[in-house]
């Protein structure tokens, strides 16, 4: 009651302040007084539709939520959500609730339609109040659920598989797992296979390097799994003192893509969530910056840096790597070289490679090596360059994007037998 009285007093002092109206509405909602909450949220929406449309939209959904909690008013619920969508059709929340509204009535086609429409408007900033929107994944969940009933069984299977690899609320995770069983969808739950690094040594391999960059002769050995470190230095012609951003750091040296770069004077930041790896980094690469944080939730725009020479994206599973890619503010930071692990060979959805390519192409990057593989049948990475920083001659020289599997060794070396 204390907070309710506080906001009531605030309201009385300024009844035309929309944010106070909404705060009062929120307090009434918290104590189960939906009608009173509806009044104040509706006032807030009316007071902000021109000045703060996201807020007005949020308050409109709150008016729906009061009716939803009250019950027995399904058509009013429907119309209130339609009002919210009509006002701001570019946000996902009301689409989700309308999809749920229809699916609760077994009206699969409109439910599917609203899920599809909502998915056109995901990745939006969070609304100021809880409108019972668990996350964008729920729209995919609804699409998976309803596509089954409208006869799109293969699409449904693909979506359930995609959901399996996503972060969802525990309750939904359980439903997803059950549906995989119920719908007979087989998931490869084995972890992504680890391939021993294809190591380079000066003694054995230098003479076969296709592209000998400045300083290559000084390298005794590399560390990457598939020569990513050599690729970066090749594309940037042996650049020294560059900057890297390494997402999915792994071990500090073994199979690591930035260890060699530091020997060329590079600095940067590395992300990993594995505590034991973090400890290894602190012991073995104490001068390098390792961040123990979930990169899918990190706000990269806060770094203040607008250019980075090398971006590595490599966290399992492919859905998470893609989530980080979506989270990169390409309008604020650009990169010279990117290695992106899509794990196509184990991606049950077979979707993340194409989706990642679409994003990177849209942001001006050029695919220079597609479907890199540590062997002859495990295409798992794409390598990209930015034509602003990598010359056309280098791109033309190194481009190889037409193969379903591009064995890394073949890409980087030309042996006598070839």
């Amino acid at each position: 009651m204390g907070r309710l009285k506080k906001y009531l007093h605030d309201y009385i002092q300024n009844p035309l302040d929309p944010y106070i109206n909404a705060s009062l509405g929120e307090e009434y909602e918290n104590i189960g007084q939906g009608a009173a909450a509806l009044s104040y949220f509706l006032r807030a929406a009316e007071l902000t539709y021109e000045t703060d449309p996201d807020f007005a939209y949020c308050c409109l959904i709150k008016t729906w939520l009061q009716l939803h909690k009250t019950g027995r008013r399904p058509n009013y619920e429907n119309e209130q959500l339609q009002t919210a969508i009509s006002f701001l059709p570019t946000r996902p929340e009301a689409y989700l609730h309308l999809s749920l509204w229809h699916s609760s009535r077994e009206e699969w086609k409109p439910s599917y339609m609203y899920a599809c429409l909502g998915l056109q408007h995901i990745n939006k900033n969070k609304l100021p109040y809880n409108v019972e929107y668990p996350g964008d994944y729920m729209l995919l969940f609804q699409k998976a659920f309803t596509s089954w009933y409208i006869g799109q069984r293969e699409e449904s299977k693909k979506l359930w598989t995609e959901l399996y690899y996503m972060d969802t609320l525990p309750h939904h995770k359980e439903i997803i797992n059950n549906n995989l069983i119920n719908f007979g969808i087989e998931i490869n739950t084995t972890p992504v296979a680890w391939h021993e690094p294809l190591t380079y040594t000066f003694e054995d391999d230098h003479q076969f390097l296709k592209y000998k960059f400045t300083g290559a002769s000084l390298i005794d050995k590399n560390y990457s799994q598939c020569y990513q470190d050599l690729f970066v230095l090749t594309a940037l012609e042996g650049k020294r003192n560059g900057i890297y951003l390494e997402v999915g750091a792994g071990q500090p040296y073994y199979g690591n893509n930035t260890a060699l770069l530091t020997e060329f004077g590079w600095k940067g930041s590395s992300f990993d969530v594995n505590e034991s790896l973090i400890q290894m980094w602190r012991e073995q690469r104490p001068d390098d910056f390792i961040i123990n944080q979930d990169a899918t939730k990190f706000d990269f725009s806060l770094s203040g840096i607008n250019h980075i020479d090398y971006l590595q994206l490599d966290i399992d599973p492919p859905a998470n790597t893609f989530k980080v890619l979506e989270n990169i503010p390409f309008d604020k930071i650009d990169f010279s070289v990117i290695t992106y692990e899509h794990d196509y060979y184990v991606d049950e959805t077979k979707s993340y490679r194409d989706k990642s390519r679409k994003i990177l192409e849209e942001n001006g990057y050029v695919l220079i090596a597609g479907n890199i593989s540590p062997d002859l049948n495990s295409p798992y990475e794409d390598w990209w360059v930015n034509p602003k920083y990598v010359s056309e001659a280098t791109i033309n020289k190194m481009k190889n994007v037409d193969q379903e599997v591009l064995f890394a060794k073949d890409y980087m070396f030309k042996y006598l037998s070839q």
């Binding site: 009385i12 189960g32 509806l38």
Partner: protein, 329 residues
């Protein structure tokens, strides 16, 4: 026009409390139109009207109409009757919040409703001849919705809150369709102000369920809207005071109905001459507000009202604040 009485009150030492009945009893639908009464033992009693709808009212520039326009009762779609229940409460003398409550059990006198408005609406609470009454309008006993004031004795103890008697009062002369908002005169048992302008005081006889006009006065007020009853009429100074209401129903383009409610303080001398009539006021700056209760305790008015039919409040206003309000000439 006083556009925010509550602000004036709070800025001058008054207080306000939201009046709440738990949502699990009401489904969170509207609580409104509260009547307040100071009982003989000093307890603050109140009746909160519970309606089974949420009022949808789009105000200001009215961007967000619902299906029925800017103003609509959102009833349960499987039962569109407009149901009213009443909760009698004891208010905390310090905070004015609800300390305890009981729903009035009307089952002894209820019959299956034959019109869409169910229950006793806009109840006023008071005590006459040591009998505790609630009195409001009921419209569910005639198929055409005819409304009459019903005077009901209520027995309220620790375990029960029960309607004991129910007397449906006919108007004093001729047939009318709807009688409502009669204001009980607390120091004149069985008398109501039926109309405030022109004044018509009626005396009711619960035994015969009839009424007769006992006082009439024409004030020749030239007000844009007719004065209607709101609170009880209570003794004040050497005369009486009440709160009246005015209602402006209007239509927006497209024939969407809307409404504005205003209230006024009205003070009479002992002979029912108007001493003062305040400018119209809003309680909390909303278009739809409705008062049904006024009491005096410890030098303060306690005024109870509903907000948009969705929320209920009790306002404690120092009596001397009356003088700083705006009054008609």
């Amino acid at each position: 026009m006083i556009d925010n009485l509550a602000k004036i009150v709070l800025d001058n030492g008054g207080k306000i409390a939201p009046l709440i009945i738990p949502g699990n009893l009401t489904d969170g639908t509207g609580l409104c139109n509260v009547s307040v009464f100071i009982d003989t033992n000093g307890e603050i009693l109140a009746n909160i009207r519970h309606v089974h709808y949420s009022l949808y009212h789009s105000e200001f520039n009215q961007k967000f109409y619902c299906k029925w326009g800017c103003l609509a009762y959102l009833n349960p779609e499987d039962d569109i009757s407009l149901k009213t229940g009443n909760y009698l409460c004891k208010l905390n003398p310090e905070t004015l919040e609800v300390d305890s409550y009981q729903k009035i059990d009307t089952s002894t006198h209820d019959i299956p409703p034959v019109w869409d408005f169910h229950g006793l609406e806009d109840v006023r609470v008071f005590r006459w001849d040591d009998i505790f009454y609630v009195c409001g309008v009921r419209r569910d006993v005639k198929p055409d919705g005819e409304g009459r004031m019903e005077l009901c004795e209520v027995n309220w103890d620790k375990n029960n809150c029960t309607e004991i008697t129910r007397d449906r009062i006919e108007p004093p002369s001729g047939h009318t369709y709807l009688e409502k908002n009669w204001m009980p005169i607390l120091d004149m048992p069985y008398h109501f102000v039926r109309w405030a302008d022109p004044l018509e005081v009626v005396k009711v006889d619960p035994k015969t369920k009839s009424s007769e006009v006992v006082i009439s006065k024409n004030y020749n007020l030239s007000l844009p809207l007719g004065l209607r009853g709101s609170s009880q009429v209570i003794p004040f100074s050497k005369g009486r005071i009440c709160i009246t209401h005015e209602c402006n129903f209007f239509h927006h383009p497209g024939y969407h109905k809307d409404a504005q409610y205003y209230h006024r303080f009205m003070i009479w001398d002992e002979d029912w001459n108007i001493l003062r009539l305040s400018k119209p006021f809003k309680f909390m700056a909303a278009q739809i507000e409705f008062n049904t209760g006024l009491a005096i305790k410890d030098g303060n008015f306690i005024i109870t009202f509903g907000y948009q039919d969705n929320a209920a409040y009790a306002l404690e206003m120092p009596i001397n604040l009356l003088d700083s309000l705006e009054w008609e000439d």
